[in-house]
Symmetry: C2
Subunit: 543 residues, 2 copies
């Protein structure tokens, strides 16, 4: 049986586009004499459709797309993900389903059994778990069809009490097919490969694994669909961060050579961010980005990524020097724009800064300069950038990094503005790695930006190190707390300074209110700020 793996970039709720892509791909697969073409989890709606699933009209539109797909299923079978109604009258109203269509008929519906409900996943919010397992017979193959999480339960920790593959294997399938919506995070594909190997070896079965590609707001899907042989080796590896369509002949899986996945984490991260920016603009129907260039490394890296995603001519860089900005910040920023071929403009903010200070003299009396005045500068920049965004239909890109977001080192409604946060899940130390990676062939980001001490330049001679610990240490502690959910006592036991640890974790916790109002953040780690990390604002723990 010749199986086509269709790794496509869908758009949530864009039925016309999604169905069109599916129909075109079926046609292409037919031309390549495929017997079966496999699309990803919830391909028809896009993933994750979230509360759109609560509208019966939305579900009807999904099912209407299935009808259209049925019509072209002659001489080829199709597996496609789609929500479907739970008609039993008991349990949640929907299933997360995989439709098996052949001869213009739905021959089989496999429903997802293990519903992820952690981190960014909310599947138990919508779907009833299935407890019915049946393999599909097709042209001499017996297919164990499952959906994403259904095959993730092979490691030590048993998050679920049932195992779909344990059930399906009883029927002696000859091949397993899993349709997925597995989002990117750095190095995560290695975990997938390990999971696929564990399944293949445990059940002695080859596995066809089809994933989404493309970004949906904060979630980036890296594709990386694969075929694993019964020894657990990858024998087919689809592209990363791009649409792809590849075929495998099940009769010959044993003869395929083994493929090794060797991508560098930093190269993956870079590609992911570019795709994240590109898809956000394309799917919202925007072309041009605006951002504030400070002369620092975060806005420089953001600008480069935006230029790669949208074309340098579509990135509008604005320099907004305040009375505390240094000349080198302006020079470095201008050099960067010249290197990129992006436009830039300079709008000094001194007049507005003086004007606000003057209007507040009565209220502020002679109180000393403090964070307030720093924030005023950042917010004036926000007003300028948003005004240009409004007037010319640009989307403002936020340039904050994860380290800053974590400790609240940023101004709400100031430098925290934006339609999308590009680096909000990238720690400061990783931003440096990205910058070096960007400069791997030639100096795109001026070297001085990489070597100077980080500064917000919101008061005379300010440096980040005045209020924050060394970024290497900061990022380590943040990672232990955010990604690994370690308590202060555990982190201190690992040898970090007690006062420092407590100070940092307190900063993280008391700044939940700021992060509640940040733009969506492109997710690059297994624990990004946003929908995957849900913290109480009035919570007192560790604050």
């Amino acid at each position: 049986v010749k199986i086509a793996l269709a790794q496509l970039n869908f758009h949530i709720g864009n039925f016309e586009e999604n169905t069109g892509k599916i129909l075109n791909t079926i046609e292409k697969a037919k031309q390549e004499s495929a017997d079966l073409v496999v699309f990803a989890e919830l391909a028809i709606s896009g993933y994750p459709p979230r509360d759109f699933l609560e509208f019966s009209d939305f579900i009807n539109k999904c099912l209407h797309s299935v009808e259209k797909i049925k019509e072209v299923c002659t001489d080829i079978a199709v597996i496609v993900g789609c929500p479907s109604p739970n008609t039993s009258g008991i349990g949640k109203p929907l299933f997360n389903s995989a439709f098996f269509i052949a001869n213009k008929e739905i021959k089989h519906i496999a429903n997802k059994s293990l519903l992820p409900n952690y981190d960014i996943f909310d599947e138990y919010r919508y779907f009833e778990p299935s407890s019915h397992f049946e393999c599909i017979e097709y042209k001499g193959e017996k297919i164990a069809l499952s959906i994403c999480e259904d095959i993730w339960d092979v490691n030590e920790s048993k998050m679920y009490s049932s195992s779909p593959m344990d059930q399906l294997i009883k029927q002696n399938p000859s091949i397993a097919i899993n349709i997925s919506a597995s989002p990117f995070s750095v190095s995560y594909h290695h975990k997938r490969l390990k999971m696929l190997k564990a399944n293949a070896v445990k059940y002695s079965i080859p596995i066809v694994y089809v994933n989404h590609v493309g970004a949906q707001t904060e979630l980036i899907f890296d594709g990386n669909s694969t075929v694993t042989n019964a020894n657990g080796d990858t024998v087919l590896q689809l592209k990363e961060f791009e649409e792809d369509l590849q075929l495998i002949d099940t009769s010959g899986i044993k003869q395929y050579p083994v493929v090794k996945y060797t991508k560098q984490p930093i190269a993956e991260l870079h590609k992911a961010l570019v795709l994240g920016v590109r898809d956000y603009f394309r799917k919202l129907g925007f072309k041009q980005a605006i951002l504030g260039l400070s002369g620092g490394i975060d806005s420089a890296v953001t600008s480069v990524i935006a230029a790669e995603a949208l074309g340098p001519e579509n990135v509008i860089n604005i320099l907004l020097p305040s009375p505390y900005s240094s000349q080198h910040s302006i020079d470095d920023s201008v050099d960067l724009c010249k290197n990129l071929g992006s436009t830039y403009d300079i709008i000094p903010i001194e007049n507005q800064y003086n004007s606000f200070n003057h209007s507040l003299e009565k209220q502020f009396k002679n109180l000393p300069f403090d964070l307030t005045e720093e924030n005023i500068q950042a917010r004036i920049r926000g007003v300028f950038l948003m005004a240009l965004s409004n007037k010319f239909n640009y989307i403002l890109l936020n340039t904050s990094n994860k380290s800053e977001n974590a400790v609240g080192y940023g101004t709400l409604y100031g430098d925290m503005c934006g339609g999308l946060s590009v680096l909000g899940d990238v720690y400061k130390t990783q931003v440096y790695d990205l910058a070096n990676y960007i400069n791997r062939n030639s100096e795109i980001i001026p070297k001085h930006i990489l070597i100077k001490e980080p500064s917000a330049e919101l008061r005379p001679n300010q440096k980040d190190s005045d209020s924050l610990p060394d970024y290497t240490k900061l990022d380590e502690i943040l990672q232990l707390y955010i990604e690994n959910r370690k308590a202060p006592s555990e982190i201190i036991q690992m040898g970090y300074d007690e006062t420092l640890v407590k100070r940092i974790l307190k900063m993280v916790n008391i700044n939940e209110y700021k992060r509640h109002q940040t733009p969506p953040i492109l997710r690059c780690s297994e624990k990004a700020f946003g929908m995957g990390r849900r913290m109480p604002i009035v919570g007192k723990y560790l604050s």
Copy 2:
């Protein structure tokens, strides 16, 4: 058996305060010769603890509080909600538990079986559902102990496939006790009473129902704990929106007179908002609020609610007239402040407005005045309000209503700023009802604010009705879409104009990006913007 219902206001993760309250209340219950004192669901941690539950340190702190409570359980038994580890090694790592403690020992742990995972609830994210059911024998009573959702499965729609009470009733309990964390929405208590009646009648059993009171960020708990007799009639009703401790003697439940719940929805809403504001400030350790008074009804009602919550002396009203503000807006606002006894200050924004326009002349060339210039005014106000907030440690209150939030009629980083949105779940038509209710005894909100046509006053002679339909019609359509999840076709079938319906729903959908960055909104309906409504930003459906 004398049972004390302890309806308390806990603070998420504030173990010292929560445990202290529980210990004090046990002492009080002892003094009133109670045999058993019942605390609410997850009382020890506060509800909802959200991702704090992923920290083993947090769980240890919860269990440490249980140890302290055990020590005082002499001559009295205690039922208290607390997360507890799932030691089976299979399934999620925690249970949502009710501890039954007597004679300084944990005699029984009942785990929640039905885990709500809709709207604002995420319980399946953390907890394993229980399938073990056992009644508790205590002083001659046999107690069917359950947790919140466990008894909600008595209506027509079967969201769950099992029923905890069906299991417990087999053991012939004499009384049911349910500990809850059931948040407020307008008129929701009637649904609770109906649910309690249905259970009492179905199982012929009296029910002791203990709920939380107090607000946790956006969620307001109204208390309203009750005792229902076996006929389904309420025989004891604790206070609403206040802490309360009341006793019932199980031997005499049949003799208690029936209590009717007769609260007006608008009075409930008003009390809820006041509590919501008060607790947000108290639990974050803030005393004073600042807000922008526009002369319109939304900011007027917000100011009154803040004054009731915090004391009028703690509400700083700022008038920020632009060149397009009318004199009556200033006069009306000043009158309101005088009526309230709150301070006010006037800061004209014309200088900053001119200054921004001047600095943007080169970029804007001679492009016509549009939304950009309106937004600049709103954002200048944001800068002023946040500057005062930063300098003096005020929390800025957001004054947007739900109708505006729905259609995106507001400026991101402008009038959408704030630490807390007071009216963000209150439709414009309800804001008028609230204003009339506030004025029920005397004119607190100047009458002119109630009768003038709504206007943002951001361009000459602007009125809301220039860009929005009549609010009565708008709110009806919004409610059908947001609360009732009706599709455009369904709403049109009900007789609404097709063009209007499509225009409104499109406005709702394309403004998800704005709502993603709004402050937390006090939840007053069964579908508020925020964590209870999760929509994709790049989604194309209906946009």
